[in-house]
């Protein structure tokens, strides 16, 4: 039996023994919308279900919340092959993710690459154990697609930095313990005047106001900084060297999206919803028009999933990401928006409830998920920016003069 197969059987056995029954079964993606879900961890985690804490601690104990990170930083030290096996085994028993964390998805990888030893030892283990919950301070009201035009000021006051400004679309800032933040340390240059810095959200002068979305949820905040004092040791990488880190982190963010595409919304299965509400004629959906469009979508979704897998294999073989990864974020957004639109259409009026009597939980989730999905082509780089990137970096087309 190959090492990998040994690893698989051991993993399977361990999961059988250690994954609490209440942590099995789907729903993780739905939970991801709720800010107070225990699975996000952090200082202020509310353990509505103690099994959540148990599951997190057991997985963190093995370093499997961050399977491929080095052991010395609280990771599992697994090879990507082993990590894939672990994920397959987790999927097999429909285990909930032990920890949802921007620290693991986005910050960790760049700290491993750009942070100094002290910063790694300080932050990575706490991320892996789910002790500290992080949020991302990137966009500003005037700096959306054009992120590098950000203006949040960071002044060198000798023994500390002083930060003043405003961020927007900071995910769950109202629940986060720390923030990784892009700040302007030189106003004379654009990209070369940006630094990447970390600080505690409880520092005086930090205020996070949740933003209510059209879906009714508030996964994002406006975050205000007024004379926030930050130790100089919290700067990651070089002063004015933050843009490179910022771009790399966005790559990880997009790869993270690519891993599964956008989920969220209702678990309601599209063709079954259509069968229930539109009916069938000798086995086929009665509405041939809708059936054709559902199929077109399902094919595109399948093609997307196959592409993500192919790109992973190629990246593994080539020891580097294929240029095609830049299409993934765009495609992921389109696939999820098409799915949620079709689901709402298939449900008819039942898919257009806001709350209260007359609508099932799945139906409400479908409505909310459809609305939430509109953000997929905006958050983390708009689809327009994605297409610009493909045109210029991959296809080699030039800027308009």
């Amino acid at each position: 039996m190959s090492d990998l197969e040994t690893f698989r059987s051991e993993t399977r056995a361990w999961l059988e023994a250690n994954c609490p029954p209440s942590m099995r079964g789907s729903g993780a993606s739905a939970i991801a919308e709720e800010g107070d879900s225990p699975i996000w961890g952090g200082r202020r985690a509310k353990w509505t279900n103690p099994d959540g804490k148990l599951w997190l601690d057991r997985m963190a104990g093995k370093g499997w919340t961050a399977p491929t990170w080095p052991k010395e930083y609280g990771g599992g030290g697994l090879s990507s092959a082993e990590a894939r096996v672990l994920q397959q085994e987790l999927n097999r028993i429909k285990a909930r993710p032990p920890l949802l964390s921007f620290g693991i998805w986005m910050l960790g990888p760049v700290l491993l690459e750009y942070a100094n030893e002290e910063q790694k030892r300080e932050h990575l283990p706490k991320i892996a154990r789910g002790e500290i919950r992080w949020c991302q301070g990137y966009s500003e009201p005037g700096a959306g697609s054009d992120l590098a035009s950000l203006r949040t000021k960071c002044e060198d006051k000798g023994d500390h930095f002083l930060i003043n400004g405003q961020k927007i679309w900071t995910s769950y800032a109202n629940y986060a313990d720390w923030i990784f933040c892009l700040v302007r340390t030189d106003t004379s240059k654009k990209h070369e005047g940006i630094s990447f810095i970390l600080f505690d959200m409880t520092t005086p002068g930090v205020e996070a106001r949740p933003i209510k979305l059209i879906s009714g949820n508030s996964p994002f905040c406006e975050t205000f900084f007024t004379d926030v004092k930050v130790p100089k040791a919290n700067l990651v990488g070089k002063l004015n060297g933050g843009w490179e880190i910022a771009k790399r982190l966005l790559q990880y963010e997009r790869q993270n999206i690519s891993a599964g595409g956008f989920g969220g919304g209702s678990g309601y299965d599209l063709e079954h919803a259509a069968k229930d509400h539109v009916g069938t004629e000798n086995g086929k959906l009665a509405d041939g028009d809708l059936r054709a469009r559902i199929t077109q979508h399902k094919m595109e979704a399948r093609a997307f999933a196959l592409t993500v897998r192919r790109l992973e294999e190629e990246a593994k073989a080539k020891k580097g990401p294929s240029p095609a990864v830049s299409i993934v974020k765009y495609a992921a957004a389109k696939v999820n928006q098409d799915r949620t639109e079709l689901l709402v259409e298939a449900l008819g009026h039942q898919g257009l409830g806001w709350e209260g009597e007359g609508f099932s939980a799945d139906e409400i989730a479908a409505t909310r998920g459809w609305l939430r999905a509109k953000g997929n082509s905006i958050e983390g780089g708009t689809s327009e920016v994605n297409l610009n990137v493909v045109a210029k970096r991959v296809l080699g087309l030039l800027d308009h003069q």
Binding site: G144, S149, L213, H349, W354, G356, G358, F359, K374, E384
Partner: protein, 378 residues
Amino acid sequence: MAVLSEEQTMLRDAAKSWVSEKSPVTAFRKLRDSGNADGFDRTAWSEMAQMGWAGILIPEEFGGSGLGYLTLGLVLEETGRTLTASPLVSTALTAATALLLGGNDAQKKAWLPKIAEGKAIATLAVDEAAHHAPARIALKATKSGTGWVLSGKKTFVLDGGAADLVIVAARTSGKSGDTSGITLFLVDGNAKGLSRQKLKSVDSRGVANLSFDNVEAGADAVLGSVDHGFGILEATLDRARAGLAAEMLGSATQAFETTLDYLKTRVQFGQVIGTFQSLQHRAAKMYTDLELTRSCVEAALSAIDNNSNDVAQLVSLAKAKANEVYHLVSNEMVQMHGGIGMTDAHDAGLYLKRARAAEATFGSAAYHRDRYASLLEY
């Protein structure tokens, strides 16, 4: 824009100014946040009635102006621009049409003046499931003595919670799916045995599920003739669809104009984003679709006014195109506004939500494509 008579132009302009003064989008937002159970503002409605809008279809003898469908469409387009939620569609358009097409003199006398005055809210109750299907009528009406007893349910009835009069499509013979065997009944909104469940829909309009438990209706409650109600029902629905399409055209046009303004002011990469060619071409295509849709909506309304023989075709065309263009524009409104368009504080979400609700009402685009093809026999 169709070539209008002076009377039509005056009414359109009056609507424009009233809507912008008395019923901007902020008014609808306030209504939504107030949790108003009716789904519309009764004060605003009485003002609309005073301006004669509730009686545009109703002949002068019954207290209206009898100006017709194209004229009502002009008003609906203006109210649609600001998402004004009112009984215009349920009462002044749909119910009034049913009474005009199917009502006897007594029935008209009883209801049309009240509707024209804005004193009565009325609606049509057709569908019994999630999708529009006028022939799928299972709600049963059985003879009892000289009158009838109704039992069954109706779903997503516009202003069904507030309606004083509910015009119910009931099954008096045959089975669900048959076009024959359907009869229309006038039922009092507060009739014994009628229970109404007001729904909280995504677009905050007043819709309700109605359930009928042995509701009694007299012989004089029958609208038109027994078992042969489908003709009136379809004709009524076609007029309702055309009017709703006009409202949707107004909403889509405003959504487009608001987005166009944003493209002209929002700066990224040192440029007003409206200078980016891909956005310009998407905007130009939306404008094209809006113009094509306007032609269909106006053609459908005029065909109704002229009793043309291609009303059904033109109406399915108009509703399908209105669905498609409002669907597209409402999505682009969010996308082109970027993050701000995703916030509840911005209007984009309100247009998006209204779009889908209106698309599903009286037939989706797919429903009307299928109907159009069937009318052309392929």
